[in-house]
Structure formats: structure tokens, C-alpha cells
Symmetry: C2
Subunit: 453 residues, 2 copies
């Protein structure tokens, strides 16, 4: 959401170095909106604008910049200023950002950061991408289980400015093992009994994530249990950090985008579409296009193999319908694959439901096939007298019914099989299913013709 | 996530009507987990289990049941018991649920509900599906702007049990106009100055949603601004309700699923895959299959039209490569369409970026086309001596480069055009793009051959 309309006014303020107006600009709106208005500025201009507000607001606005601008700012601005900014970012955002920054710059920046932040960066970046550890933040309100409500409130008043969320307060023992949770709501409700101990009001039996868990599974857990945040623990239940609902939303958007790319045979991009170089796009698309091309070559071999069939008198009209036959099968297969993949990711079905799924697909595709087959019958009759023989008229409908059914069954079984053996079922969406159906469709078509003609 | 393993134990407890164990079962775990364990029970059994815990926990567990079980319970259990349960549900969930229940049952239930709940149901269900009004809840903590921090805490202690969220507290004037927001964090921080008035500490300039806004746009706003909840207002800024982050997550999952269905030419399902009847599936898939079938018929007409070409001596081998040519174009087009659609939904590009997008697609597809064209050249040379003539050898590579480029351009421009005219760009994903490329691809193929041979 770039707002290029206001850029000239903003540039004028910068040129005049109008401190009052620039401060007003930084502080009047929600930081996300301020950031929107600033897109289009170069790193130096953006930094100049941000220098007119306090540190907290500066970081808040910076957080909403486009990642490309963030990276460019970090790489081009004076290291010392950047170090100050970085040390104020949330630990999880900081690590994500530094992952995208030129390594040489990171090496120069690390010594300029306070020891604690530096250690935290090295620690968080040691978790592999896509795990709970890599998404979590270490900014978390931890309270000792022996505290009273009054003591807890006092601690929170000191801590709250630095913390990302205080809505859930985690209760730990002396060795940082997670014991329970009190919500801000519970604290407010217990305010009239200030000597109550936290371990009397805390909830136990929490839903937790382990540090190695896949980020998608963690996101689903948070969504399923309607959590604001999920604590991340190690094998000994030591509290390492939390993942908050806003990071969960980000993970879900990321995963939905990845699935969409996979289903179109594009290797997931790391950056936004416009920020990805053409050569990277060529590579991310090319690998799969080659694989699909080789699969499609098989159709050429099959057609070459049946060459003598197609040259027979009275058979040429079949050629016209090759694209129609394979697209009918491919489309039906693609529908089934998408339905099954979505049902799997939304946890509506599991692999052991395969028989129910196949039964439904057989029924559905039989009805669809009969209907499309009838359309095919009419199309054939209308287009050529050669399709008006006793045998000829049944070639198209028989083929279409078979191809639609085979397409649906293959389309539903392959994602289930991929899930079963631990691969991403989204890989088996169109166009892979379509590639398989192309070959099978042609073989069915020509064999049906051979029997009937 | 059904856990059928524990059903026998649970049924045993029910048969013995073991009150202690059943209460223990209902209260020991997070309500979502308890609900998981109960899936597979019939409505009567589920109700019997729930009758062993208090009302609040009963509603919490019920909330996590599969929608199918919820509907069956409401339709089959005694109306009076159901009415008690329904009046305890969150207003937004209640309306969603009653939308799925048989209308005759709803008519019987409404008179049994307390007046306020009944009015609320009629009010909320008047908002069209997919708008902010239909997703919002009316359970919201509203505080008068003249209250002090101390008075606010007292009010909250009375209200908090019934409210879905108290993390954001909305400050309104006497006519319910939204004035500002205080967070639980701000209240906690101001606790030492209990006479501070809310309008001194409240934040103004809030991000709001209007009641008619599209739910997807609202969800994107919440994600963009990292909000816990967004207030829903009418045109006069009167506060009508809020949408909380957990409903936002649900909306995002729903929209991602819809987009995936659209991109596979399936009309979005209203229920889960297994809960949708075969006839509904036939309908949701059939409409689009027919449309695509008619589009594919055009390929048959085109091929029939060029029949005399294909019958020439030395031309037959071209037939073998028809599926390969059209699938290359379709796959490239599908990739471009998906990249552009995702960039649009993730707000990385807007329609006015079309020229940049096309330029990138031309470049990318040129490189991809040259590479695939070379593969085509080799395949042709390997498979037939007729592709080894001066003209013949260039037919496949020239066609493939053109088809890949046309596919990518069409695939990227169509979603942008759909977005521009206000249609869902996801409609222009594969297989519609593939259908168009099929026709264009064949025309290009045969014309290239005509020029070169």
C-alpha cells in the first residue's frame, strides 16, 4: 500500500528540514499508516524523517516498512545508528531481518550491539527456518510462581514497556520450567485480593509448542485453541519464548502463499514478486517446467507409437478431440486434488479416510463423466459424419467418462499417498496430476477407439 | 482431529453414568482437547457427557465440536436444553451456527431465548455473509470516557466473565460513538494513579472497520496493523461490535481455501469436504467443468479447421507434439497467473504496476521459452527424420518459445484485468488460463508450421 500522492509534500518537509511538521507526521497516525506514507523514500530520507520522533515510535514505524526498504536502510545507513535501531527491534523480527541483510554488514553490526542482544541473535538464528524456534520471540513476561498478585503487578509495571505482549503472563519455577499461565484478565479480577499467590490462580495443563515443531503445525494449534500466544518449550519444558497471534497470522499467509506456488509448479519465492530478480524467477519456474516438459514428452512418444492408428481412414477426426479429452481429465483431476489437499491441510480428513474419499470421488466423477460424455457425444455428432456410425458415436462419451473418472481417482489418491509418505501433498496438485492424466488420457482414448471402430 | 481410540472408554463411562469420571473428563483438559476426544459420539451421548460440567465449561467444549455435530445436537436435542446452550454462545458464533440449522428448528428455538439474545440474533443475521457485520461479535467491553481508572477496573470485574476479550477496552461517549481505546496494559500501568480519567490515557485515531466492509479486507487490515481486535462502526462511527484476531484467523483460512478452490475451478464449498453431499460436489464442480468443456470444444473446431494441413505428407509428426505444446504454454501461463494473483492478494503489487509486471514476464518467459524450445528441438530431432529438415527443425522451438511467452503474458495480464474491473482475480487462474492457451497454442503451432514447412 504505497501512497505516492503524499511523497512530494513529505519531500518538501525534508528539504526544509521542518522539524515540527516532521515530528507531527511521525506521531499523528498509527505507525503502520505513517510507514505507508513513507514508502518511496530512499533510506537516507526515511532515516531523516524517523530521527524526528522518539526511539519507541521510530522502531514502531520501521517495523511496518517494506522488508526491501528495511534491508536497504540497514545496509546503507551509518552502522552505529543502525545498531541502535536493531537493538530495539523485537527479537524474532530482528533475526528475520538480519537473515536478509548482507552477511558482511551483519558481521560489522554485531560487535556494535549490546551483549545481551548479540547473544540473543546468535541463539535465535541457530533454529532452522520453518520451526517454532525460528518464529518465536524471547520477549516474554515470566513471573515466579511464588509471587503474589500485588508483586506481579509491580513487576509488570516495570517490564511492560519492553514486552511484546503482556496479555498472557507465564508462570515459571526457579529453573525457568513452565508451570502455568495467568491472563491479564485474571490479574485484574484478583486485584481485590492482592496477597493471592500466582500459583493459586494460574491455569495449568497448557497447550505448548516444542522448539523443533513445524511452524505450520504450531499455527494450526494456535488457531484451533484460539490462543493469543503459545509458549515454546524445550524437551525439559524449559520456557524458551512465545509465538504470538500476529506471527501466527504471518505464518498462515506465508504457508498459503507457498501452497499456491506449489500447486502452480513454482518453487516458493523468498521475497515478494517484484523484489525477486528475473533470473531467480527463471530458476524457480524453470526447474518444474523442465520436469513437466519431460512428462509431456511421454505424450509425444505415445502418439508416435499409435501413429498407424491415427492414419487409418475414418480415424482422423479423433485427432481434433485430443486436447478436449485430456483437458477434461486434467480439469477433473485438478478439482479432486485441490479438494483433497485442502481437506488435508484444514484437517477435515486424514490418510486413513482414503477409502471414503475414493468412494465419493468415484461417485462424483461418474455423474460428472456421464454428463460431460453426453456433451461429447453431441459435439462429435455435430462435427463429423464419421462420428455418426454405431461404433464411432460411442468413442467420445466412453473415453470422456473413463478419463474423468481416472482423473478424479488419481487426483484424490496421489495427495493422500504423498501425505502418507511424509511429502507435501500440495506437490501433487495440478499441473502434475494434469501431466499424468495427459498420458493416461491419450492411451485410454486410442484404445477405446480401437475397440469400438 | 478425531481420537477414536478413546471412544470405547468414554462410552463405558456413559453406560455406567459414572458422574465423577465424566466430570473429571470434562474439566481436566483444555476444552478443545476434550472436544477432540468426544468426536464420534452421537448428539445424545455428547449432551449426556456435557451435562456433568458447569455451564461455562459446557459451552466452551461445545464451541470446539465439529460444526456437523453442533448442528445435529441443536436439531435433535430437547429444545429447552438447546436454548440454554445457545444463549451462552458468543453472539457471532451463535449466528453462524443458526445459519446452518434447519429453519423450522430455529423458529421453534427463538421464542425460548431471552429477549436480548433474540434481538441480537435477528440483528446480526441481517448483515450479508462475508461482511464485517456478519463476522463481528457484540460482546465488547465499552467504557464511558468520563470514567476513572478505578471505576473502569470495578466495571471490568463485573463484566469480564461474559466478555470474549477485555484486552482492548473501547471508550465511547453517551451515544455509543467510538472515541478511543485503552489496553489492559495501560490500565495496569495507570493503577497507581486511580483517579486518572480514561480520556486522558486513551489512544485515539483508531483503525476501524465499517460494518459493510468485505471480511477479507478487514482481515488484511488486522494483519497489517497487528491488532488483537478491530472495532466495527457504522457510518456515524457508532460502535457496533468488534472482530477479534481468532475470527480473523478463521476468515483467512476460509479465504485461502476459497482461493484454492477457485484456482481449481471448483465453486467454494460451504461445508467441509466430507460433510458436502455428492450431489452438491457434482454441482460445484460440474458448472465449471461444462464451461471449460465448451472452451475446449474450440480446440476441436480449430483442429478440424486445419485438417487439410495435418493430412499433408511430412506433417503428421506435428500431431504427436500437440499435447506437449499446449501443456508448455498452459504450465507457463499458470505459473504467471499464480504469481500475479498471490502478489495481488498479498498487496505486493497493484493494477497500476501492470507494465512492470508484463516487462518482467516477457523477460522471464523469453529465457524459459528459449530453454524449453531447445529441449523441443532435441526431442524433435531424436524422434523423427521429418523434423531434421532445415524448416522442420525450427517448428518446435519457434512454437514453444511463442507459446510460453504468450502463456506468461496472458496469465499475468488477465488476473490484473479482472482485479481492475472488480472481479476476483483468482477466477483467472489455471485452468481458465490453460483453456485459453490451448486454443492459442494450437493456432500458433499450425501457423508456425505453415510458414516454415
Amino acid at each position: 500500500m504505497v501512497n505516492p500522492l503524499y511523497l512530494p509534500e513529505l519531500r518538501e518537509m525534508i528539504a526544509e528540514n521542518n522539524a515540527d511538521q516532521l515530528r507531527e507526521f511521525c506521531e499523528a497516525l498509527h505507525p503502520a499508516r505513517t510507514a505507508d506514507f513513507m514508502e518511496g523514500l530512499d533510506p537516507q530520507e526515511a532515516w531523516l524523517v524517523l530521527s524526528h520522533t522518539d526511539e519507541q515510535n521510530r522502531v514502531a514505524i520501521f517495523n511496518y516498512f517494506d522488508p526491501t526498504l528495511q534491508v536497504r536502510m540497514i545496509e546503507t545507513l551509518e552502522r552505529k545508528e543502525v545498531a541502535g535501531l536493531i537493538s530495539e527491534l523485537a527479537p524474532d523480527d530482528r533475526v528475520d531481518l538480519l537473515n536478509d541483510v548482507d552477511e558482511a554488514v551483519v558481521e560489522e553490526l554485531l560487535p556494535l550491539l549490546p551483549t545481551e542482544e548479540r547473544r540473543d541473535i546468535l541463539h535465535l538464528s541457530s533454529y532452522p527456518e520453518g520451526t517454532a524456534g525460528a518464529v518465536m520471540t524471547t520477549d516474554v513476561a515470566k513471573l515466579a510462581e511464588s509471587l503474589t498478585v500485588r508483586e506481579a503487578i509491580e513487576q509488570l509495571q516495570q517490564q511492560s514497556a519492553e514486552l511484546e505482549t503482556i496479555y498472557y503472563l507465564y508462570v515459571v519455577d526457579e529453573q525457568d520450567h513452565l508451570r502455568g499461565l495467568v491472563s491479564a484478565r485474571q490479574i485484574l479480577s484478583a486485584i481485590r485480593r492482592p496477597e493471592t499467590r500466582l500459583n493459586e490462580i494460574m491455569e495449568t495443563g497448557l497447550v505448548t509448542a516444542e522448539v523443533d515443531d513445524d511452524q505450520e503445525e504450531v499455527a494450526q494449534k494456535v488457531a484451533r485453541y484460539d490462543l493469543l500466544a503459545i509458549p515454546v518449550v524445550d524437551l525439559e519444558r524449559k520456557m524458551l519464548g512465545i509465538i504470538t497471534y500476529d506471527d501466527v497470522i504471518d505464518v498462515m499467509v506465508e504457508e498459503a502463499t507457498e501452497d499456491a506456488y506449489r500447486s502452480a509448479a513454482v518453487e516458493p519465492l523468498e521475497d515478494s514478486y517484484l523484489a525477486t530478480s528475473v533470473m531467480t524467477l527463471v530458476w524457480k519456474r524453470g526447474v518444474w517446467l523442465i520436469v513437466l516438459f519431460v512428462a509431456a514428452l511421454a505424450t509425444a512418444y505415445v502418439l508416435a507409437h499409435y501413429e498407424t492408428y491415427l492414419e487409418r481412414p475414418g480415424w482422423q477426426w479423433l485427432i481434433w478431440f485430443i486436447p478436449l479429452v485430456i483437458s477434461s481429465g486434467g480439469n477433473a483431476g485438478n478439482q479432486s486434488a485441490t479438494l483433497v489437499i485442502k481437506a488435508l491441510t484444514n484437517e477435515e480428513i486424514e490418510t486413513h479416510d482414503w477409502l471414503r474419499v475414493v468412494r465419493r470421488e468415484v461417485l462424483t466423477s461418474l455423474v460428472l463423466g456421464i454428463f460431460l460424455g453426453l456433451c461429447g457425444l453431441l459435439a462429435g455428432l455435430a462435427m463429423t459424419p464419421e462420428a455418426r456410425t454405431i461404433g464411432g458415436m460411442w468413442v467420445l462419451p466412453t473415453t470422456i467418462i473413463s478419463v474423468v473418472m481416472v482423473g478424479s481417482i488419481v487426483g484424490s489418491v496421489l495427495p493422500l499417498a504423498f501425505e502418507k509418505i511424509g511429502l507435501d501433498p500440495a506437490l501433487m496438485s495440478n499441473p502434475f496430476v494434469a501431466g499424468i492424466i495427459d498420458i493416461v488420457g491419450i492411451v485410454i482414448f486410442l484404445n477405446v477407439a480401437w475397440v469400438l471402430l
